[in-house]
């Protein structure tokens, strides 16, 4: 497991719709809280002119938690919104992905979540592309 792999699945779990994750992981395996789900805020920064010095744009609600599986593996979650079950499931998958169950979870949970996300993004991008302007120039009087 590389850091990048873990970043990828933690990001995917955080962006997933809570209902989609719940449908893919209905039963919660045993675990112990290291930090039970807590709702808070993260201050989001933008950059002046899109690329310059940072400034504070506004906050976003976030739920975080940490847990430990019975085997001792630790999982963390920071997910947008105030859904404690979402954070709980994300932390469980984060922990399980560090165990022997990783391949199974990848196929059963992460791959479907990635597919849902890719499809939703493509559908939106497709709608946006349909509103792209095709300019054409009319023949001007002096050219005729």
């Amino acid at each position: 497991m590389s850091i990048m792999d873990r970043q990828n699945w933690m990001g995917l779990l955080a962006r997933a719709r809570p209902a989609d994750l719940a449908a893919l992981l209905p039963d919660l395996p045993q675990s112990q809280w290291l930090r039970p789900p807590e709702v808070g805020a993260v201050m989001v920064q933008g950059r002046t002119g899109g690329s310059g010095a940072p400034f504070h744009l506004g906050e976003i609600t976030v739920t975080r938690c940490s847990l430990q599986l019975t085997c001792g593996t630790v999982g963390h979650a920071h997910v947008q919104g105030r859904d404690r079950d979402h954070a709980h499931r994300a932390a469980l998958v984060d922990a399980l992905m560090q165990t022997g169950a990783a391949a199974d979870l990848q196929a059963r949970i992460l791959a479907p979540l990635a597919r849902i996300e890719t499809d939703a993004r493509a559908a939106r991008a497709g709608r946006a592309q349909a509103t792209k302007v095709d300019f054409f120039t009319l023949v001007r009087g002096e050219d005729a």
Binding site: Q7, M10, A41, V42, T48, L57, K132, V133
Partner: protein
Amino acid sequence: MYVAVKGGERAIDNAHAWLAEDRRGDTTVAELSVPQIREQLALAVNRVMAEGSLYDPDLAALAIKQARGDLIEAVFLIRAYRTTLPRFGTSIPVDTARMRVDRRISATFKDLPGGQILGPTFDYTHRLLDFKLAAEGAPLAPTPQAAPDMAPVPHVTALLDRDELIEATPDTGEAPPDLTRQPLELPANRALRLQALARADEGFILSLAYSTQRGYGRTHAFVGELRIGAVAVELEIPELGFAITIGEMTLTECETVNQFKGSRTEPPQFTRGYGLVLGQCERKSIAMSLVDRALRWKELGEDFTGAPAQDEEFVLSHADNVQATGFLEHIKLPHYVDFQAELELVRRLRAEALAQTQPSPRAAAE
């Protein structure tokens, strides 16, 4: 002497009960759900998130329902709620160049990489009431789709920047101040001004921006680019030692290209105004970029013409609608003692004035 008066408890309770009944309205009409508000009054939700300065569509929708559609009251509710939240940290600055755009237009270049993408806009609608919407359950025709293009769309100003035709906006690495942590101090740097403008009242910023267009601090703005879309929010997690994406948010970004300046040492160059707002808030982001540019007069060596939009103290002290409404509306609350004092004073002054203009009866008799 300070006199405390109690009372009105029953009247207040009954007023709140009536408020709840009026909020519900006619019970023969179906009750509005929070998800309905979130999905179908999305631009009101976006405005409450932007001015409440908290990105959470469900909470903003709830606030709108509770406030009976009074958006400033809803913003107030969101601001009050956010003070109860622990701050987990500060994100890595969002990268708007990697935004997945729903909409991206430029008023300065017709043909540009990525093209003009209109998105779900009111522009070019006829602004005629659509009575079909008054009929419920009318099926929607499917939205046309084209082959998606997932490549990031470059910023228009980056194209000008390449040829040094526009001022650079270097990352100075300076830690930005935070209005939610320290009270506003003037003079403010640009980062503090942008934070204040991003959460400012849309109507106030709109009027100020309009005033610059009409000549009060004119800056000759073109909309170089306006884009709306989703960006990833990334946070460093100390216990992990690396950053992860914690979610996504929709932002509206406007970059204006403004009147150029030059000097003996520097050739003429366009200048920039910047607007970035939580959610889909197009009017606000355009207005913000105009006001941002007007406030930069000193840094760009321009004259202060006395225009309100150039006056940092005026703009920043009056832009927050929660502050403004708090101070404005407090004058309707009981001021009985203050007023009693004023009343006494006016009576005494009048008595003295009358005594001087009308000679006493004894004086007349003498």
